[in-house]
Symmetry: D2
Subunit: 268 residues, 4 copies
């Protein structure tokens, strides 16, 4: 595939409508492509690589005097980036896109499932847990450095302290999706962030659990009840201390086993 070749300029002789002068006097924050799905190879901060399927959004700032951007170049940029995404180096990926588009501002967002190999707590059987990860980086003309956000969505078990306290036996528990979004000077590993999330829950979840593991997680969750409020407090405190992020948003959405709606809590 010749995706990596520099753009081959074909002098097509066709009018370039997008490059026309625009007289409305209004610059456009972002114009680009969204929802572009591509196979990708992602290398995390610890140099571990993984194949996944990513969804890319790319856009640039369009100055007031220009009618539009060149969407097809953005699609080509995504094709070039996808086989070699480095989570610790998205700044150069964004800068390369802006240069290619001759733009002074723009944004790159990327989301993909990431798979973490985990051992079941007793049997030590290995299995993979899928978590949703996204990166969002943007740069505007008045900023010297791009602003990068990293997000993970980690499934965990939460067990309700109220239900445990008031009931003679049992306690309702459920799968919760914990979302962490942060900005940090130093790159944070996906696995590192996932571990902090799991530590703040009643119990982690696993793809494979043998009977002895199932007993373990059942009892562990019962011994460690957490409201959504407890979880976000504990997690916010832990991440603040350990990672000292410049920005931090912590949220959990508990898919309550006793309701048809979710309980949520967030600290931002």
């Amino acid at each position: 595939m010749d995706l990596l070749k520099p753009t081959h300029t074909i002098n097509s002789g066709l009018p370039d409508t997008q490059s026309a002068f625009d007289c409305r006097g209004l610059s456009i924050t972002r114009a680009g492509v969204r929802g572009l799905r591509l196979p990708c190879t992602i290398t995390d901060v610890d140099a571990v690589s993984q194949h996944s399927v990513g969804v890319f959004d790319l856009g640039v700032r369009v100055p007031a005097a220009q009618r539009g951007t060149h969407m097809s170049r953005l699609v080509q940029c995504a094709h070039e980036l996808a086989p070699q995404v480095r989570t610790a180096d998205l700044e150069s990926s964004l800068r390369a896109i802006l240069e290619r588009l001759d733009a002074r501002g723009g944004a790159l967002a990327l989301r993909f499932p990431w798979f973490v190999e985990k051992e079941a707590p007793v049997s030590r059987r290995s299995s993979l847990l899928d978590i949703d990860v996204s990166y969002d980086i943007h740069l505007d003309p008045w900023e010297r450095r791009p602003s990068l956000q990293m997000s993970v969505q980690v499934p965990v078990t939460t067990l309700c302290p109220c239900s445990k306290a008031i009931s003679r036996y049992g306690a309702h528990n459920q799968r919760s999706i914990v979302s962490v979004t942060l900005q940090s000077r130093r790159p944070i590993g996906i696995g590192e962030l996932m571990s902090l999330v799991e530590h703040a829950a009643s119990c982690p979840v696993y793809a494979v659990l043998k009977r002895e593991d199932e007993r373990h997680v059942t009892e562990a969750a019962y011994e460690n009840p957490k409201f959504s409020e407890d979880l976000v407090r504990d997690l916010h405190a832990e991440i603040s201390t350990k990672l000292q992020p410049a920005m931090l948003r912590v949220e959990t959405e508990n898919h309550e086993s006793i309701h048809n709606h979710a309980a949520y809590a967030l600290i931002t």
Copy 2:
């Protein structure tokens, strides 16, 4: 709104491409519109009415010699049906559509959230539970009567018997979505079907639960553990006996609190 007026024929003098003769010799099973969202008033078999928002799919059989169908008439049919959907009389709704489209076969599908008022088990506080309901009716030229399927998707609590049996305390439990699809000579009420589903689960779910209710449902679920396999067996047996449907499909999807995937079981 003049939605209910008979179609006002405008002799537009424009060519009618859809009615052209087709020489490919292939009839089309269904052609029509899908995903049409409309406000609707639904009257169930017990004459109780409810406002909801429905999504309609309507299509007709296109005979081999005809190029296409008239999509806009199907949209008008849906507009006329939406304010007065009678779940016990979808056969005449379908027949009216077929007549309007001059078609010898076709299908009407409709899905909507239905709200059931329930009392919390101890405090008796009222709240509404939303369940997804759908009807699918179709008729083909070689059939004397239309074939009607009714489906409900009911959220319930399930608690794992294995987890309870092997653990010193606690047991994992989760929200499960139970789907029942059936064909029946006599019309079945939505609430009637929902009650049978809830009865086969570890415990029903509710929108409002006060503390004394929460204790009740926690203990009730613990006292009544059910595998997905147990649930579908119990429910299939109960519906077969009580409703004697001509066709029955029972399925549960448990959103496991200890995994990031679902457990499911189905009997068809």
Copy 3:
């Protein structure tokens, strides 16, 4: 239904875990319920009412010294609000919720489909167009008045100026979803905002179009090509002038007919 009765206090004698003192010293931005689906009656600023189905998110600020909030009260608040949502008076709805929860900050979000009756451009046939609408209002202790955002998502037709300019005949066109989010001192009607969006597109969309209407919209879109960039510029200028909002975000996502991804543009 006794939903509207003041909360009946049952002295259950059960421990109130949520009200316990919390020593972590961290207040929680929001804790509450999310994804609660209820039938609702919505009255817009022009006093026109409509039945719809809404999805509610309600949450409150939890002070540092308190462990959690009372989720079931939030669910009750949503049940009380749903039958009488007034888009011009969500401030009092939010204040009532905060009072009921004894909270000094919190948020209410609500999204629902809204149906606008439209006449086809030539045949004048009436039909309903469904648009997604949401309101998001929140108040924090350091603010005197709540902050309210209104959003609409309106489907329209866009036709590509480049495709038209470079091709001998035809031009690719597609359904686009235009999202407008704004804050405004005076309440804005849903229909008013929708009209501004449709005016900025290549052509509005309709549920029912007869042949003479189809010709009209086909030619109208061809005569009025718009890039996603053009659409957001025209719409941003128009809304700024006409409605003078305190905050405005305008975005379009074009579901390109020639690609499997979307083109988008936004001004914020």
Copy 4:
């Protein structure tokens, strides 16, 4: 990772609830796991391999006398299959699962995005098109050989013949999703099936189109208008002749640029 080792039997001394005798006398069609997301390597019939992310559903038949199945073994089977999925050999994958679970019937379903490298029609620029692919194979005790279904969902452009015929210029067109499901004695390649779908549309879609390509696809679609009805007829005839499948279902869903709903047609 020791995923591929034979299951290490830990004599945990815990009761095996799932293996208990069941006296309800009702066998279960399927019990298992659903929505398990895993990275996978897929080899198509032409021996070409690709990394993707798959979602797996696995279930077995549970005989009347047995209470339940062993869900964790199914999860392990999926982990073992994922790195080496061979689309032409899913029968042995299913048989291995049934053997491992000691089951006489069961099902394996798998869906994933597949990426096809395509050249733009004029500039010859390469890019990847993502299509959704799924396989569903099941075997029951009364069958000698499993039943295998293959499905693809291919995005294409359709241009409306009516709109073209009645308008002085232009014609509405849109992205359509064409779904083909078939059973075939000989394995069918994903790319082969995709090509047949694209051939039956007004025009294929591409991720990267330069200006000269955009002119080409605009004019090509205009020269080749297709109703949803035309598309399914042409495609059904072509697949029937070329591939002689044992079962065939062809459907298109056109995301109309002039409506907020879809037009569809299907032949089964």
